[in-house]
């Protein structure tokens, strides 16, 4: 994730040699960037950093409904919440593990399919033809819709024995009358809904990435006799690597942490096949009011994501350097 700027030319101020000309002694030049950053820093601290540290601390407390009102004085229990969450002989541990496995499967499938669809659409629309701009705009609509409206649409289509999906399936003679929002079907419903609203983002990013590949590389490859499929495999996909690297990471983090889609699709009754980790933690915290346990699970989740992200960045950066 290289986000460094190349425009590191001489800064206009701060290191000026002729500082005597400026008559602004009230604020020292050195403090200007810090003052400009202060509001951003304040809100990041308030909403992200301090709560995160607070959550870490809470994960060591016995913080349930009995102590919630006086949460500052909840008793310290050491690693007990973690022991409880990771006790794979007990019900809580098994449920956490199941939820974790479902989340991994959901994230991998959703990101993989979204990336392939996004790349396909970007390649199909690379060349101009009548209606290209229209299709491009159309494909982006699901991403632009507010999450709850897209999930509502899918909920309506999947709901009931005679909803849109079941009615169409029985019209086509493929059965019907299946409960798409219950049992194991719920996983499929969740995944399709998530892909519907996520793949346009992959499309958007990969389309922009394609534009940065110079066309003469393709010409040279064509002269060498490389077919189109070979060109896609040996030029397009490797040249998209920098975009794909960031894109896949971002998509993975979004889907892995997804709360909205399952929450809106299933309301309170999320079937275990669609019980993503965020939902699991939410229900363990806000429905049973066991904030200590919820915080311990959240901390484990963060640790996992940190390890995954660091490992992923190390692996993909090394590969791109060797390429």
């Amino acid at each position: 994730m290289t986000v460094t700027s190349t425009a590191s030319t001489a800064p206009p101020s701060g290191t000026e040699p002729n500082g005597s000309r400026t008559r602004r002694p009230r604020i020292s030049k050195r403090s200007v960037p810090y003052l400009l950053l202060a509001p951003a820093l304040f809100f990041e601290l308030l909403v992200h950093i301090v709560p995160m540290l607070g959550g870490l601390w809470m994960s060591f407390l016995r913080l349930n409904q009995f102590f919630l009102r006086e949460w500052m004085s909840a008793p310290f229990t050491g690693l007990q919440n973690y022991r409880f969450a990771l006790d794979f002989d007990g019900a809580a541990g098994v449920e956490l593990f199941q939820s974790f496995a479902v989340t991994i499967a959901f994230a991998v499938i959703t990101v993989g399919v979204s990336w392939v669809m996004g790349l396909a659409a970007a390649l199909f629309l690379q060349r101009s033809f009548p209606g290209r701009t229209l299709l491009r705009g159309l494909f982006l609509v699901p991403y632009a819709l507010p999450i709850y409206t897209s999930v509502m649409i899918w909920k309506f289509m999947l709901d009931r024995s005679d909803g849109m999906v079941n009615a169409t399936l029985s019209d086509l003679g493929l059965g019907g009358e299946r409960f798409w929002l219950l049992g194991n079907n719920a996983f499929l419903s969740l995944t399709v809904t998530a892909i519907w609203r996520l793949w346009p983002f992959a499309f958007l990013a990969l389309m922009a990435g394609l534009q940065s590949i110079p066309t003469d590389i393709y010409d040279a490859a064509a002269v060498d006799g490389a077919g189109l499929w070979q060109q896609i495999r040996t030029i397009t996909v490797p040249m998209l690597q920098p975009v794909s690297q960031v894109l896949i990471l971002v998509l993975f983090l979004w889907t892995f942490n997804d709360f909205n889609v399952p929450y809106l699709l299933f309301n309170q009754a999320v079937p275990s096949s669609a019980n993503l980790i965020s939902i699991h933690i939410y229900q363990n915290s806000f429905l049973t009011w066991n904030f200590g346990l919820g915080s311990a699970m959240s901390t484990l989740l963060l640790l996992f994501l940190l390890v995954i992200t660091a490992g992923y960045l190390m692996l993909t950066s090394r590969r791109s350097r060797n390429a």
Binding site: T9, A144, D162, A205, D219, A222, S278, S298
Partner: protein
């Protein structure tokens, strides 16, 4: 590059499938919104038995849609305005100054993007409650609490994008302003912001969309007076009936502003995205 015949076939079929996948749910949304209630309670029909605009009228009285709409608008506009303003200052500092802690700041802000919301939902809830008890500033269930929360959600991306926009604006312009005796804030205001307008517009719509669609924090941090659309649209389901036609007409109405804004500005979003990612 000559396209072989097979690719033209693949493209034709592929684009058809992708179009169907995209359009069918949108078609269902639009047609359901003009169906009478009896239609949506019956077996699904591709065509409405009768066209009616009643859902568009009734949706305002079935639930307190206007209230939810206003709440969402206040919260989203507030969050977007503050987020962009704060991001402008931060991005200007990062783009134009070299200072100690610059990289640490960028890294920290970006990495907050990967935190799962659920991780800081619980502590933030308690912090807001404690601040409320201590100072009397009500952050739970109030617009201001949601604005503060949401503005930080779009802040990292906004800073990142604006930095890459600012970097593409020649520093000579700043220097000319400095020679004329302008301070940093004046320079930002008069020189850099006018040159970065498309980027600022793109960041604004992104920040607005983020707040307009947020559900997790809204589900905990709103009360009946501050319910946003994300939570309020669920009121169309009652014990006995779901007013699906009104759900869809309301969904359509609340989607149109963000969809149009996004489609108009997506070009600039992509520019900023790639400028940041590809470099």
């Amino acid at each position: 590059m000559r396209e072989p015949r097979w690719f033209q076939w693949v493209r034709g079929v592929g684009l058809c499938l992708l179009t169907l996948f995209t359009v069918i749910p949108l078609y269902v949304m639009v047609t359901t919104s003009v169906k009478p209630l009896s239609d949506v309670q019956d077996t699904f029909q591709w065509l409405p038995s009768a066209l009616t605009l009643e859902p568009y009228v009734d949706m305002w009285s079935t639930v307190r849609l206007a209230d939810y709409f206003v709440n969402s608008a206040v919260v989203s506009l507030g969050a977007a305005a503050f987020s962009v303003l704060i991001a402008l200052f931060a991005a200007y500092a990062i783009s134009r100054y070299r200072f100690r802690g610059r990289d640490a700041f960028r890294f920290t802000v970006l990495s907050t993007q990967m935190f799962p919301g659920i991780l800081f939902l619980l502590p933030l809830y308690l912090i807001y409650a404690t601040v409320g008890q201590a100072t009397g500033i009500v952050l739970q269930g109030s617009h201001i609490g949601l604005i503060i929360t949401y503005l930080t959600f779009s802040l990292p991306f906004s800073i990142w994008m604006l930095v890459s926009y600012f970097d593409s604006i020649p520093v000579d312009l700043d220097e000319a302003a400095y020679i004329d005796g302008a301070g940093p804030v004046q320079t930002l205001w008069r020189v850099v912001i006018p040159a970065a307008k498309p980027g600022i517009a793109a960041v604004s719509i992104y920040a607005f969309m983020t707040a307009w669609g947020e559900t997790l924090f809204a589900s905990i941090m709103t009360d009946s007076d501050s319910t946003t659309l994300a939570i309020g649209l669920r009121d169309y389901s009652t014990q006995s009936t779901v007013y699906w036609n009104e759900v869809m007409s309301a969904s359509l109405v609340v989607s149109i502003p963000v969809v149009l804004g996004f489609l108009a500005l997506q070009r600039y979003l992509v520019q900023g995205l790639t400028a940041g990612a590809v470099k």
